[in-house]
């Protein structure tokens, strides 16, 4: 019994300043899945995420969340941007920032009942943020702030959590911790995770599905289905090799070959 | 009948003085102002004009040289802003605001003490809206000399200033102490707005510092061209404004015309608005494409 997808993207085409960034992108995410949005820097991962969130208008294509078209107030999508600069002078504790994730759209002063306060505690605990919960949100380290942003996005119980390059500036140990944390969240809270990264190796142990973006197009499926020489060569438009070593994957361009790859119209493997 | 150039314009001595002062002020303001705008220090630049004016009103009250008051006040203000402010943009603006507030409060006090202790009337208006037509011709040489000094100072720190204005990392990589360069620039700006405030009043001082540079930065990309374009806009608007103010004396004889600051600022504001029109933008791009791109950025 396959659950109906919680996020569907079909035939998406997005242009910025006249240039087509993404063309005919199609994939879907099922509840609780961990999906990696993989591609090199500048390929359009952020654009894709922003389009899903409704911050960018696509030229063509359909995006559905829970079967319904996306709308600005859609609370089914949680968003964690890349590191944001928060002024350390701002008088707000990390825990208050997480609470704001619950009701920032409401009017009036924040009056939170004990149930809501307990929810904040739960979220803080889920991201291992208890020890710095009472510190100023602007004075947190990069990793701490990221956990708080995740808690903030998570507290409104989204169906999908979208994260933009959360692993980019972290040391290897922190990368492992955050990936494990996010995996735990998918299991404990049933939230699907779509996270963009330019390197897939840290995600291999937990990724259910991969959306591989290159040259404006995308291939989606499981890692076995997508991370293969034939699929990726097709995507890039020239020969690439996929090397596997000690459980790690390396995608290498094969510059010696000059053959043209015949274009297949459909790159969605599953 | 009214003509565009009312009689006596070119023969009038105050007009000559105004044209010279206006041009010099416009050019110095353009040079300093382009950097102020690209460093997002328009607030600091404006605050310094008010702080300089406070220095001026203090000097007025204490009976010492107004020029010293204007420039001294500005320099002290620049120092205070640097001392209180930090690198983060928001805290910097708060610090600027606090310094400006303190200076404004002091200005209130000086003006009050001055008007109650002497019989001077119109002191507030004079200090705040000082007129380019009432400037003492004997101050011209000093104003020009100090302006040249300021320009030389900016020219000396031109390259490190440019680099640290665009990228903190690049500045650090090249061993430039951005903090010191920033302070030097602030002091140069303080001196230049002190000069322009006493020459043309605090309103015009801010207007010439920010307006033409903000306009030119929208039109051209290279700093050197921006300075030239800003100078041209500054001088042209200043001269036209002086002309219209002179004319308005005849057009509205009942109240002796409108102040020159009004005309110049209105023209500057108009230029900025026009530069935002997409038609203008497209024409500029066409011009640039037709005549090929000029030499490298700096």
């Amino acid at each position: 019994m396959i659950a109906s997808p919680v996020l569907e993207v079909e035939g998406l085409r997005v242009s910025l300043s006249g240039r087509t960034i993404l063309d005919d992108v199609t994939f879907e995410i099922r509840p609780g899945e961990f999906t990696g949005l993989i591609g090199s820097n500048g390929v359009g991962k952020t654009t894709l995420l922003r389009t899903i969130l409704g911050l960018q208008r696509p030229d063509a294509g359909v995006i559905r969340v829970d079967g319904k078209p996306i709308s600005p107030r859609n609370r089914s999508l949680g968003y964690v941007p890349q590191k944001i600069a928060i002024d350390p002078d701002i008088p707000m504790r990390a825990r208050d920032f997480v609470a704001l994730g619950l009701d920032a759209h409401r009017f009036g002063f924040a009056r939170r009942n004990s149930q809501q306060r307990e929810l904040v505690e739960t979220m803080l605990h889920a991201v291992d943020g208890d020890r710095f919960a009472n510190n100023r949100v602007g004075s947190l380290s990069g990793g701490e702030q990221q956990r708080i942003l995740i808690a903030h996005a998570l507290i409104s119980r989204p169906k999908v959590l979208l994260l933009d390059e959360p692993l980019a500036n972290l040391d290897p140990k922190s990368v492992q911790e955050i990936v494990a944390l996010l995996h735990r969240i998918t299991e404990d809270h049933g939230v699907a995770v779509l996270l963009s990264a330019h390197e897939m190796n840290a995600l291999l142990p937990v990724m259910d599905r991969i959306v591989y973006v290159a040259d404006g197009r995308a291939a989606s499926g499981t890692t076995e289905e997508v991370v293969r020489p034939d699929v990726l060569s097709e995507l890039y438009g020239h020969h690439v090799d996929v090397l596997k070593l000690h459980g790690r994957v390396l995608v290498v361009a094969d510059l010696s070959s000059d053959d043209d790859i015949p274009q297949h119209p459909n790159l969605t493997v599953s | 009948m009214h003509t565009l150039i009312e009689p006596g314009f070119f023969g009038s001595a105050p007009v000559h003085v105004a044209l010279v002062i206006g041009a010099v002020t416009a050019i110095v303001s353009a040079v300093v102002g382009v950097f102020a705008v690209i460093r997002s220090q328009s607030f600091a630049g404006h605050a310094l004009t008010d702080v300089a004016t406070t220095g001026g009103s203090g000097a007025f009250y204490l009976g010492i040289s107004p020029l010293l008051g204007f420039i001294g006040g500005g320099v002290i203000g620049a120092g205070a802003m640097d001392l209180v402010g930090v690198q983060r943009v928001r805290s910097r603006d708060i610090a600027t605001g606090v310094v400006l507030g303190s200076a404004s409060g002091l200005a209130a006090l000086f003006l009050y003490l001055d008007t109650t202790q002497s019989a001077t009337t119109g002191a507030t208006q004079q200090i705040l809206f000082g007129s380019i037509f009432t400037i003492d011709p004997s101050t011209i040489p000093l104003v020009v000399i100090l302006s040249v000094v300021t320009l030389v100072a900016v020219a000396l720190i031109y390259r490190p200033l440019l680099i640290s204005s665009f990228s903190a990392e690049l500045a650090q990589a090249r061993g430039i102490n951005a903090r010191v360069i920033g302070l030097i620039f602030m002091v140069a700006m303080a001196v230049s707005v002190g000069l322009s405030s006493i020459a043309v009043g605090s309103i015009l001082s801010t207007a010439l510092l920010i307006g033409p540079p903000a306009t030119s930065v929208r039109l051209v990309t290279h700093v050197r061209s921006a300075v030239i374009v800003a100078s041209v806009i500054g001088v042209v608007t200043a001269w036209l404004g002086i002309l219209f103010a002179y004319d308005s004396y005849y057009w509205i004889p009942s109240t002796q015309g409108l102040p020159v600051s009004f005309f110049i600022v209105a023209l500057i504001f108009l230029c900025y608005l026009v530069s935002g029109l997409s038609a203008v933008r497209r024409s500029i791009e066409w011009l640039r494409a037709s005549f090929g791109s000029s030499s490298a950025a700096t």
Binding site: I86, R93, A104, H105, G108 | V89, L109, I210, L258
Partner: protein, 293 residues
């Protein structure tokens, strides 16, 4: 007996009677509004617009005077115009340059209006620097009403203002439209300006919106407490300023700016002392290590 003597020394008997009652009432309302609106001015780093809008308002008052209508209308129209102009132009250009241009345009208009009228010097002075001792009873009502409206707007938008000020990207992702909030806030500043300028003066209202709130956040991490402290500091500032102005006859605006600055410096001092004295918590140590790693 001794306290009674001190009280008289402080001008206690006269200071709280007669026309001074208006001053205390108006001043209190102004302080509360400035403390609340100022909290967000500082949060959003909108110090420059908070300075520019009142100055623009001054031009409006001069213009209204010229055509013979209630200066409050001129104040309101020009504040609103300045707020919308700054908000609108900021979207397409550099916000600080745009604010400077709007400011000088307003001031130049003010100068033009003044040149065409026979406005007396003291009136100009009081519009710029405040004449709290001349507040008439009839002014209290409009001041109060505008004050209530400004505070009500801030209360309603409280949480949205917080999120859009601190993390605009996340606010945008939730559909909270940061741009609309920006415009709405500038309008609130315009309203707060209109009601406070006749009392504290165009040039100095913004010190009240900067100093006390900037100081308040040095003393606490908690948002609501910082807001309350901001109002408290603003109240103390205005009350002390009124008392000192009554005693010395010096302009009240001078004392407002002096005490606002004092609070600001006290806040900075407190923060510096606490940073030096406190034991660094774990997160700061890791932050330090990571930044140097």
């Amino acid at each position: 007996m001794a306290t009674r003597l001190v009280w008289v020394q402080l001008g206690g008997d006269l200071m709280f009677s007669g026309f001074m009652v208006n001053a205390w009432q108006a001043g209190t309302i102004v302080a509360v509004v400035a403390g609340i609106v100022g909290f967000f001015v500082v949060l959003r780093g909108s110090a420059f617009p908070a300075h520019a809008i009142p100055n623009g308002a001054f031009a409006g008052a001069a213009g209204a005077n010229l055509i013979g209508i209630n200066p409050l209308i001129g104040l309101g129209v020009f504040s609103l115009g300045a707020a919308l102009g700054i908000g609108g132009l900021s979207r397409r250009g550099r916000p600080d340059a745009v604010t400077a241009l709007a400011l000088v345009m307003m001031l130049a208009l003010g100068a033009a209006f003044l040149s065409q009228s026979t406005q007396y010097e003291p009136e100009i002075f009081s519009l710029l620097f405040g004449e709290i001792l001349g507040v008439s009873t009839s002014q209290i009502l409009p001041v109060g009403v505008l004050g209530i409206v400004s505070v009500a707007c801030v209360t309603v938008l409280y949480r949205r203002l917080l999120l859009t000020s601190i993390a605009p990207e996340m606010a945008a992702a939730r559909g909270l439209r940061p741009q609309s909030i920006d415009t709405a806030f500038l309008i609130v500043v315009a309203m707060a300006t209109t009601m406070t300028v006749p009392v504290v003066g165009a040039l100095l209202i913004f010190t009240l919106m900067i100093g006390p709130p900037a100081a308040a956040r040095c003393f606490t991490n908690r948002t609501e407490r910082a807001l309350a402290l901001s109002v408290a500091f603003a109240l103390v500032t205005v009350w002390l300023a009124i008392a000192c102005s009554y005693k010395t006859n010096w302009p009240v605006g001078f004392f407002v700016s002096a005490f606002s600055t004092t609070f600001f410096l006290a806040g900075r001092l407190f923060r510096a002392l606490r940073a030096r004295r406190s034991v660094y918590p774990i997160s700061s140590v890791t932050a330090l290590a990571r930044s140097q790693g």
